[in-house]
C-alpha cells in the first residue's frame, strides 16, 4: 500500500509475500535453500525477514520429477523513493554432493521481484562457480570444498562477471507472488492474471 503522508507522498512500498516452493537438482534428493533480499541504495526493508534459511527437505518417491518441496513462506515489505535497485531475491541452494557430504553449495540464483502486482510464478535457474584450474577442480571434488562466492549477494550484481566465467547451470524453480502498489508517478500495469509465467532473464544471460 502506498504510504499516505502529509502533503506529498515520499515513498512507495512494495510488498512481497510468497513461498519458495520447490527445487530440483539432478542427482540430489535432499536440499535446503538460503534466501536474501538484495535491493538498491534508495530502498529499505520496512518489515519482514530479509534473509532466511529453509528447512532441509527431501524428495519422496511419490513426486514423479524428483523435485524437493519446501513451501517456505517469505514475506517482506520494501520502501523506496526510486525504482532503481528493484529488490531481488538471491537464492543459494545447498545439499549433499556425490559422496554424501553435507552443506555443499549446489547453485546460486537471483531473480527480480515481479514488477507488476499479482500472482507470479517464477523459475530461477542457478549456477555455481567452478575452480579456476583443473587441479583446483580435482581438489575441490576430492576434498569436498567447492568454490563459493565470497559475497552471497554476488548473483544480484553485475560487476565481477568478467572474472568468473566458468559456471555450472542447473534449473531450480521457486514460486511466489507479489503485491505492490506505487502512486509516485510510476505507471503500474494492471495485475497480471493468475498463471502468468515469468521466465527469469538471468537464465539466458548466464550460460
Amino acid at each position: 500500500m502506498a504510504a499516505p503522508s502529509a502533503g506529498q507522498q515520499r515513498y512507495f512500498n512494495v510488498m512481497a509475500t510468497g513461498q519458495i516452493e520447490s527445487g530440483r537438482f539432478e542427482g540430489n534428493s535432499s536440499l535446503y535453500c538460503r534466501y536474501v533480499f538484495s535491493c538498491g541504495e534508495d530502498w529499505s526493508v520496512m518489515c519482514g525477514v530479509e534473509e532466511g534459511i529453509t528447512q532441509m527437505a527431501s524428495s519422496s518417491g511419490s513426486t514423479a520429477n524428483g523435485s524437493v518441496v519446501w513451501n517456505f513462506p517469505i514475506d517482506a515489505t520494501f520502501r523506496s523513493t526510486c525504482p532503481h535497485g528493484w529488490p531481488q531475491l538471491v537464492l543459494s541452494v545447498y545439499g549433499e554432493d556425490y559422496f554424501g557430504r553435507p552443506d555443499m553449495i549446489l547453485g546460486y540464483g537471483a531473480v527480480h521481484l515481479p514488477l507488476t502486482p499479482g500472482r507470479h510464478r517464477v523459475t530461477v535457474r542457478t549456477f555455481r562457480p567452478l575452480a579456476s584450474s583443473l587441479l583446483g577442480r580435482l581438489q575441490s571434488w576430492l576434498n569436498g570444498m567447492r568454490p563459493e562466492f565470497i559475497e552471497s549477494l554476488f548473483p544480484a550484481k553485475g560487476e565481477g562477471r568478467e572474472a568468473t566465467s566458468p559456471c555450472i547451470c542447473s534449473p531450480r524453480p521457486a514460486l511466489f507472488s507479489t503485491t505492490g502498489m506505487e502512486q509516485l508517478g510510476y505507471a503500474v500495469p494492471p495485475p497480471r492474471a493468475e498463471g502468468v509465467r515469468l521466465i527469469d532473464p538471468l537464465a539466458a544471460t548466464i550460460s
Partner: protein, 1308 residues
C-alpha cells in the same frame, strides 16, 4: 532435389488434415510422412550448432518439411549413418553419453509447459537431420508456401562460449526479434596491380571512361535537358501571351513579369547546361576512341592480346547537314530572342545599359562552335565489351606466359566487418589473368539486434598460404536506410592499398600514352594496388518470421513487419505525400514508408535505441537537485555516509529534499575567517574532526573504488577457492642436515624463536635491555663544590601504566645492561592483528639524574633532611606498532626530547659533539617474548585500472630486485583509491612566502607539522599517501607526507632533492629527503628536523636505504651496502642503483601528470590565534603545577618570566637557523638571576596539537616537585606561529631556590 522437395511440401500441406486423424488412431506413430516417393525425417540434432544449421537449411532452400510430430516420441534409437529406405543419405548422429542423454531428457521434461513425462518412462528419440545445410543465394519469394517450423518447443544445449557471446542464446531468450541484413560480395575488379601490363592499364582506363559514359547515357541527361528546354519555351510563350493580353493590371502584371524573368533565366541556364553536357559526352567518346587506338597499338607492339577488351564504335550518321545547320541557326535565334527578353525584363526592373545584340549573337555562336557538334558530323557511339578472345597460351612469349601463371596464383578474399569486428570471410577467389578481376560471389546473412554503427568490407590478398595475408583496402558500406526488407542493389566501392609496388618492366612509358589519350588528364604518379569491389546490402526477413507469416498466407504483410530506422512521424513532418513522384525510383522507399504509416503498422526494432538517445539529451533532469544528489552519492560516498541512516534515500522530488541533503549540495565553505580567532576547544575539536572526516572520506573512497571497478578485479576477488587458501607448509631440509652434523658442545647452536599466536592464556612480555648511553650530559662544576660532581643517571621505562627503572650509573657513557620486563596486555583481550596494530601505547624512555640534597637544620643539628630529586634530562618514545612490525629493535636511539640547554649540565669535555640534542643517545634492545606472529598483509596487493600495465610490471620489478629487508615500492595508494606512481607526488611547490630562501627554516616548518601515523588512524591502518595541499590542510601526516613536502620545497629552491625510502630507528619504514650538492649527499629527516652530512651518516637514524625517487624516476638500491654510510650515492651507476624507467625497466610514458597542485596556498596564522595559545598553555600549566604540588604552596616568581621568554624566542631562532644561541649567551642572560637563586630548569619544545601533550611533558620533568625553603618557580611560554596554524610551543620551567635563604643545602 530442391524442386522435388518443394513439390513434396506443397502436397504435404494438402494432406495435413488426413494425417492428424491417422496419428490420433495409432498412438506411437512413427513420424514418417509419405510424400510422393520421398520420406523426409528431419529432427533436431543435439549439437551446439544444430539449431542454426537447421535454420539455415530452411533459409536457403525452398523445401518445406513436415514438422507436425512431437520430438519426444519414445522409441529406441538405432539410427546411424547410411541410406534410408527412400534412398536419402543421412549423416550419423554425434555420439552422446547415456548420462548426457538422461540429463537432456530430464531437462526437457522439466521445462515449463512440457507434458512429456506424463506418459511414463521412456527414451528420447534422436533422429538425424536429412537436410544437408547448403548455402544458396536466397530468393525473395521462397517463403511462399512454406510451413512453420518447430514443434511445441525447441531443444537447445547451452554452453559457456569462449569467444564472444552466444548469439543464438541471446536470440532464444526472446526480447527484440533480430533483423537480418544480407551482404553479398560480387567481385573485385582491379584497377592497378603488380602484374598489370600496359594493356591492362589502358583497359582499366577504358573501363572507367565507359562507366562514365554509360552513366551519362543511362541518366539521359542530354535528352532531359532538351525536354526541359522545350517545356520552358512553352511556358515562356504562354506567359508572354498572358502579359500581352491582360496589359493594364498593375500588380498581376508585375508578378507575371517577375515570373517570366525567372523562367527566362532558367531557360538560358538550361541551354548552357545542355550544350555542356553534349560536349562532355562527345569528349568522352573521343577519348575512348583515342584510348582504344592506343590499346590496339599496344597489342600490336607486344604481339599478343592479354585482355578481353573489345571496343566497337558505331557512327550515327547525321540526318542532313542542312537540317542540322538550320536547327542550330534556329536555336541561335531563339536564344538571342530570349536574351533580349531577359534584358528587357531586367531593364524594366532597373533601367541600365542598352543591349548589344551583335555581341550576344557572337558569344552564342562562339559557344555553339565550341560545344555543339558541328552540323554534318556523325555521333560516335562506343560499344565496349570484354568478349574478345585473348591470345592462347601456346602462342604467347615465355615471359607473358609466366606472368599469367603468376597472376592465376594470386588469391583475393573479402572480409566482412561489423562495427569494426571481423565477422567472417566472404568468398575467396583466384585472380583471372586476362580480366585482372576476381569473382567472389558470396553472400551472408547477419542477424542483428541493433543497427550496426558501421559495416565494412576488407579486401585481402592471400600470401604464403594464408600466413602473411596482406590487407589491400577497406571500404565502408552504405546500409539500406530502413530496417524493412529492400531489394538488393549492387554498388561498386573503390579501394586503394597504401603500399606502392614496383610495376613490371615495360610499363614506364604508359603515363605519356595515357596522358595523350586522355587529353592531359594525369594518371596516378605512383603505383598502388587499387580496384573496385561490388557489394550489395539489403534487409531481409528472418527465416522464422518469414515462415510464420508465409504460413499465415500473407506475403504482402512482410513489409509491414519491418521496422524503421527513421522516425516515421519526422518523415511525415518534412515530406508530404503530394510532393512525391510515384514514378521516380528515388522516391520509391519514401512512398512505401508512407503506405506503411497509413496502414498504422509501424513497429520498430531500433526505435528503443533512438528513444534512449532522446532521453539522454533531455536537459531538464540534469539540472535538478535530485540529479546532483545522485552524482554526489556516486562521487563522494564519504559525505553521503555522514547522513543519518534513515535519510539516505534520495527523495522522488526536488521539493522533498531534506535539509541534511541540502547541506551537502551547498558548495564547500571557504576557509573560515573565524578560525583566525582563538578558541582552544573549538580549534582542537575542529582539527580532530577535520582529520576524522578526511579518514572517513578516504575510507569511503577506497570502498567505492573497490565497487566501481577502479581495481583490476580477479576471480579471487569474487570466488573463494579452497585450494588457494590452503597454505603448503614449508619443508625444512636443513633440519635433516643438522642431524647429520657432528655435535660440538662448545659451539652452541642458535635456536630461533617461534612466533606464538596471541591469546590471553600465554603471558607475553616486552623485554627491554637498556644497554648503555652515549655522549650524555655531565654536571657542570659548581662554585660550592670542588671538582666535577658525578651524575647518577638512570633510565625509566614506561608502558601501559607500568614503570621500571634501571640501576644508577654515572659518567657520560654509562653502561647499565639492565633487563626489564614489561607485561603486554591486549585491549579487551583482543589479540587480532588489527587490534595489536591499533594499540596506541608507547614505550617511553626517560633519562633522569638522581640528585641527593641534604639539609641540616641549624637549630637542631641532629636533624638531617635528605631530599632525593630526579632531574629529567631527556627521553624518547617508541610506538608499540614499530616494535610489533619489526619483532625486535636494537640500536642507538637518540634522546629526541632532550632540551637544547640544561641548566647545571654541560657536555663531557671528551665529547666531540657540540650540543646535547642530536648526540645523546641510548643503546637499547627490545623484543616481545614470546614473539607475536609477524603482521601479514591482509589484503593482497591489488592493481588499479589506471596505469594497470605499469603496476603489473612494477610488481615483478620489485620482486626481481628484492634484497633483504630493503623497502622498495613504485606505487602508493592515493586518497582517491587509485594507485599512483611515486614520481607523481614530487613537484616543485612554493614554500610559504615568509620562509622562502632559508632551508633550515623550511625544515623546521615541515617538521613542526603534526605527525599522524598511518597505523594509528581510527578504525585500522590506512596506508595512504596524501598530497601536500591536503596534508597542509589537515595539519597531519606521516613520514612520507613530511618528506614529500620538504622535497618539493627544496626542488622549488632549485636543489637537486630526492625522497629516500627505507627503514630507520625508531619508526621502521620511513621516508627521508636526500639532497646531493656538488657530489656530497645530505640526508634530512623531515619529521624530526635533523640533517646528516656525509661524514655523519654512520650516526644517522636511517638504517637501510631501499629506494630513491624524484619526479623523474625511481632508483632501487641494488648495491651491496644498505646503511647510508655504506651506500654509494651515485644514482647514475646502474650496478648500484637500478632505475625503474630506463634500461631493463619500464618504458617511460610521455607524460607523468603530477598528483600535486602547482602552487600551494597558505594562510597566515593570526596574532590573535598565536597569543591565544600562549595564554591558554600558560594558564593550563600554572593550574596543573599548583595542583601537582598539592598542599605545598607554589610561589611564582614572575620577574624572571620575561627574561625566560626572551630566551625562548632565541631558542626558536636557533632551531630555525636564523641566529645561533650559544651556551655563553644563555648563561649571560641568566647570570643575574643565578646570582641570587639556585636555578634548576630547562626549556621544552613541542609542536602544538593539544595542551595535554605539553602538560604531560612538563610533568615528566619533575621540576615542580622540587622543594626547599622559600622555593619559587618560574614558568614562561612562547608560541611561534608559522603559516597554516602550525605552531611551535616553547615552555621554560625552572625552580628557583633563594641562595640568601641561608639554607646550607648541598647536593651530591
Amino acid at each position: 532435389m530442391r524442386s522435388r522437395l518443394a513439390r513434396g511440401g506443397a502436397k504435404q500441406k494438402g494432406d495435413d488434415g488426413d494425417k492428424k486423424d491417422d496419428s490420433a488412431d495409432a498412438a506411437p506413430a512413427v513420424p514418417v510422412a509419405p510424400v510422393g516417393d520421398l520420406t523426409v525425417r528431419p529432427a533436431p540434432l543435439f549439437t551446439s550448432g544444430s539449431k542454426r544449421a537447421a535454420e539455415e537449411a530452411v533459409l536457403y532452400t525452398t523445401a518445406a518439411h513436415p514438422r507436425s510430430f512431437s520430438p519426444l516420441r519414445r522409441r529406441r534409437t538405432g539410427l546411424g549413418g547410411g541410406t534410408f529406405d527412400d534412398g536419402l543419405y543421412v549423416a550419423p548422429l554425434p555420439a552422446a553419453s547415456a548420462r548426457a542423454l538422461q540429463t537432456l531428457e530430464a531437462r526437457l521434461a522439466f521445462a515449463p509447459g512440457s507434458k512429456a513425462l506424463a506418459d511414463g518412462a521412456g527414451v528420447l528419440l534422436r533422429q538425424p537431420d536429412p537436410v544437408r545445410p547448403v548455402r544458396v543465394l536466397p530468393s525473395w519469394l521462397d517463403a511462399a508456401g512454406a510451413e512453420p517450423s518447430g514443434g511445441p518447443f525447441e531443444v537447445e544445449r547451452r554452453r559457456p562460449e569462449k569467444w564472444g557471446t552466444s548469439v543464438a542464446g541471446t536470440l532464444a531468450s526472446g526480447g527484440a526479434s533480430p533483423r537480418v541484413l544480407q551482404v553479398s560480395v560480387g567481385g573485385i575488379r582491379l584497377q592497378d596491380h603488380r602484374l598489370f601490363l600496359r594493356e591492362h592499364e589502358l583497359q582499366s582506363a577504358c573501363r572507367s571512361l565507359v562507366a562514365r559514359l554509360e552513366d551519362a547515357h543511362e541518366r539521359q541527361l542530354a535528352q532531359l535537358h532538351a525536354l526541359k528546354i522545350s517545356e520552358l519555351k512553352e511556358a515562356v510563350a504562354d506567359l508572354r501571351e498572358q502579359i500581352g493580353g491582360g496589359a493594364g493590371e498593375g500588380t498581376t502584371d508585375a508578378k507575371l513579369q517577375s515570373r517570366l524573368a525567372a523562367l527566362c533565366t532558367e531557360l538560358l541556364e538550361t541551354r548552357q547546361l545542355k550544350d555542356e553536357q553534349e560536349c562532355a559526352e562527345r569528349l568522352l567518346a573521343r577519348r575512348l576512341l583515342k584510348l582504344w587506338h592506343a590499346l590496339k597499338a599496344e597489342r600490336e607492339a607486344q604481339g599478343f592480346k592479354s585482355t578481353r577488351a573489345r571496343m566497337q564504335f558505331r557512327l550515327v550518321e547525321p540526318s542532313a547537314i542542312d537540317e542540322e545547320a538550320e536547327a542550330l541557326a534556329r536555336e541561335l535565334e531563339e536564344e538571342v530572342d530570349e536574351r533580349k527578353l531577359a534584358h528587357a525584363l531586367a531593364a524594366q526592373a532597373a533601367p541600365g545599359s542598352d543591349l548589344d545584340e551583335d555581341g550576344i549573337r557572337a558569344a552564342i555562336e562562339r559557344r555553339q562552335q565550341e560545344l555543339r557538334r558541328p552540323p554534318g558530323e556523325g555521333r560516335l557511339l562506343p560499344v565496349y565489351s570484354e568478349l574478345a578472345t585473348p591470345t592462347p597460351p601456346e602462342q604467347l612469349p615465355q615471359r607473358e606466359r609466366s606472368r599469367q601463371r603468376e597472376a592465376a596464383r594470386e588469391v583475393l578474399y573479402a572480409r566482412l566487418l561489423v562495427d569494426g569486428r571481423a565477422v567472417c570471410e566472404l568468398g575467396c577467389g583466384k585472380l583471372q589473368p586476362h580480366d585482372m578481376s576476381v569473382r567472389l560471389e558470396a553472400s551472408i546473412q547477419l542477424q542483428l539486434l541493433t543497427r550496426p554503427a558501421s559495416l565494412a568490407v576488407e579486401v585481402w590478398q592471400r600470401r604464403y598460404g594464408g600466413l602473411g595475408d596482406q590487407l589491400l583496402g577497406q571500404v565502408y558500406l552504405s546500409m539500406p536506410e530502413t530496417a524493412s526488407p529492400t531489394m538488393p542493389h549492387w554498388q561498386s566501392y573503390a579501394f586503394t592499398a597504401s603500399r606502392p609496388f614496383q610495376p613490371l618492366a615495360g610499363r614506364e612509358g604508359i603515363h605519356e600514352a595515357l596522358e595523350n589519350a586522355l587529353d592531359g588528364v594525369q594518371p596516378l604518379p605512383r603505383h598502388v594496388v587499387s580496384g573496385e569491389v561490388e557489394v550489395s546490402t539489403a534487409w531481409t526477413t528472418r527465416p522464422a518470421d518469414r515462415l510464420s507469416e508465409a504460413g499465415a498466407g500473407a506475403v504482402g504483410d512482410l513489409a509491414s513487419g519491418g521496422a524503421l530506422a527513421v522516425d516515421p512521424q519526422q518523415v511525415l513532418a518534412t515530406v508530404s505525400p503530394d510532393e512525391l513522384d510515384p514514378n521516380a525510383p528515388t522516391d520509391a522507399p519514401l512512398l512505401s514508408l508512407m503506405a506503411r504509416i497509413d496502414r498504422g503498422s509501424v513497429g520498430g526494432i531500433f526505435r528503443h535505441l533512438r528513444n534512449a538517445a532522446a532521453l539522454q539529451w533531455s536537459s531538464s533532469w540534469a539540472a535538478s537537485d535530485r540529479f546532483s544528489l545522485f552524482q554526489l552519492r556516486r562521487k563522494h560516498p564519504g559525505k553521503w555516509a555522514q547522513l543519518p541512516p534513515d535519510e539516505k534515500a534520495v527523495p522522488p522530488r526536488d521539493s522533498l529534499i531534506p535539509p541534511g541533503m541540502r547541506q551537502l549540495l551547498r558548495p564547500a565553505a571557504e576557509f573560515d575567517d573565524a578560525v583566525g580567532r582563538y578558541d582552544s576547544d573549538r580549534v582542537a575539536q575542529e582539527k580532530a574532526s577535520r582529520v576524522k572526516a578526511w579518514i572517513t572520506q578516504v575510507r569511503a573512497r577506497h570502498e567505492a573504488a573497490r565497487a566501481s571497478q577502479r581495481y583490476v578485479m580477479d576471480t579471487q576477488d569474487y570466488v573463494r577457492e579452497p585450494l588457494l587458501e590452503v597454505e603448503a607448509a614449508e619443508i625444512n631440509c636443513s633440519a635433516f642436515l643438522k642431524l647429520l652434523e657432528p655435535r660440538r658442545k662448545l659451539l652452541p647452536q642458535r635456536r630461533l624463536r617461534k612466533p606464538v599466536p596471541g591469546s590471553d592464556s600465554t603471558e607475553r612480555k616486552i623485554e627491554v635491555v637498556v644497554q648503555s648511553g652515549f655522549d650524555l650530559p655531565v654536571r657542570a662544576p659548581s662554585n660550592a663544590q670542588r671538582g666535577r660532581p658525578k651524575t647518577s643517571l638512570f633510565v625509566e621505562v614506561r608502558f601501559q601504566g607500568q614503570r621500571f627503572t634501571t640501576d644508577i650509573k654515572s659518567g657520560a657513557n654509562p653502561a647499565w645492561n639492565t633487563i626489564l620486563e614489561l607485561n603486554l596486555a591486549a585491549p579487551g583481550g583482543d589479540w587480532s592483528q588489527q587490534a595489536i596494530m591499533n594499540l596506541s601505547d608507547e614505550i617511553a624512555f626517560n633519562l633522569y639524574d638522581k640528585v641527593h640534597r641534604t639539609e641540616r637544620d641549624e637549630r637542631d643539628e641532629s636533624q638531617l633532611t635528605v631530599r632525593e630529586e630526579s632531574r629529567w634530562l631527556g627521553g624518547f618514545a617508541l610506538p608499540f606498532s614499530t616494535l610489533y612490525r619489526n619483532g625486535k629493535l636494537e640500536g642507538s636511539f637518540p634522546l629526541d626530547t632532550m632540551p637544547p640547554m640544561l641548566l647545571g649540565y654541560e657536555k663531557d669535555s671528551e665529547s666531540r659533539s657540540q650540543a646535547f640534542v642530536p648526540a645523546s643517545a641510548l643503546r637499547t634492545f627490545l623484543t616481545i617474548n614470546p614473539l607475536l606472529p609477524p603482521p601479514k598483509e591482509e589484503e593482497r596487493e591489488r592493481l588499479t585500472t589506471h596505469d594497470a600495465k605499469m603496476q603489473e610490471f612494477a610488481k615483478e620489478w620489485v620482486k626481481t630486485i628484492a634484497r633483504g629487508e630493503r623497502h622498495v615500492r613504485v606505487f602508493a595508494p592515493g586518497a582517491d583509491g587509485q594507485k599512483m606512481l611515486l614520481c607523481r607526488f614530487i613537484r616543485p611547490q612554493n614554500p610559504p612566502s615568509e620562509l622562502i630562501g632559508n632551508e633550515r627554516q623550511l625544515l623546521r616548518y615541515v617538521s613542526l607539522v603534526p605527525f599522524l601515523d598511518d597505523a594509528a588512524m581510527e578504525g585500522g591502518a590506512l596506508d595512504v599517501w596524501n598530497t601536500s595541499d591536503s596534508f597542509l590542510d589537515l595539519g597531519a601526516g606521516d613520514q612520507e607526507e613530511h618528506a614529500i613536502l620538504l622535497c618539493n620545497y627544496l626542488l622549488a629552491m632549485n636543489k637537486g632533492s630526492y625522497v629516500v625510502l627505507g627503514s630507520g630507528i625508531p619508526e621502521g619504514l620511513t621516508a627521508y629527503v636526500l639532497t646531493i650538492e656538488g657530489g656530497s649527499p645530505r640526508l634530512w629527516n623531515a619529521c624530526t628536523g635533523r640533517t646528516w652530512e656525509k661524514d655523519e651518516f654512520d650516526r644517522c637514524s636511517l638504517t637501510s636505504v631501499g629506494a630513491v625517487f624524484n619526479q623523474q624516476n625511481i632508483w632501487a638500491n641494488v648495491g651491496p651496502g644498505e646503511a647510508p654510510a655504506e651506500v654509494q650515492w651515485n644514482l647514475s651507476d646502474e650496478k648500484l642503483w637500478k632505475p625503474f624507467f630506463g634500461k631493463g625497466g619500464f618504458a617511460r610514458p610521455d607524460v607523468l601528470p603530477s598528483a600535486q597542485l602547482s602552487t600551494l596556498e597558505y594562510h597566515r596564522t593570526t596574532e590573535d590565534f598565536r597569543s591565544g595559545i600562549e595564554r591558554e598553555v600558560y594558564d593550563a600549566l600554572q593550574r596543573e603545577v599548583e595542583e601537582l604540588r598539592g598542599f605545598r604552596p607554589t610561589d611564582w616568581n614572575r620577574s624572571v618570566n620575561a627574561k625566560l621568554k626572551d630566551l625562548l624566542k632565541r631558542f626558536e631562532q636557533d632551531v630555525a637557523g636564523v641566529k645561533k644561541l650559544t651556551a655563553i649567551e644563555h648563561d649571560a642572560t641568566l647570570e643575574r638571576v643565578r646570582a641570587s637563586y639556585h636555578m634548576v630548569g630547562l626549556p621544552i619544545n613541542v609542536t602544538y596539537t593539544d595542551r595535554n601533550a605539553i602538560i604531560k611533558r612538563v610533568r615528566e620533568t619533575n621540576i615542580f616537585l622540587a622543594d626547599a625553603k622559600k622555593i619559587q618557580f618560574a614558568l614562561s611560554v612562547y608560541v611561534h606561529a608559522y603559516p597554516n596554524q602550525v605552531c611551535s610551543v616553547w615552555v621554560y620551567c625552572a625552580s628557583l631556590e633563594d641562595l640568601r635563604a641561608g639554607s646550607s643545602s648541598r647536593s651530591s
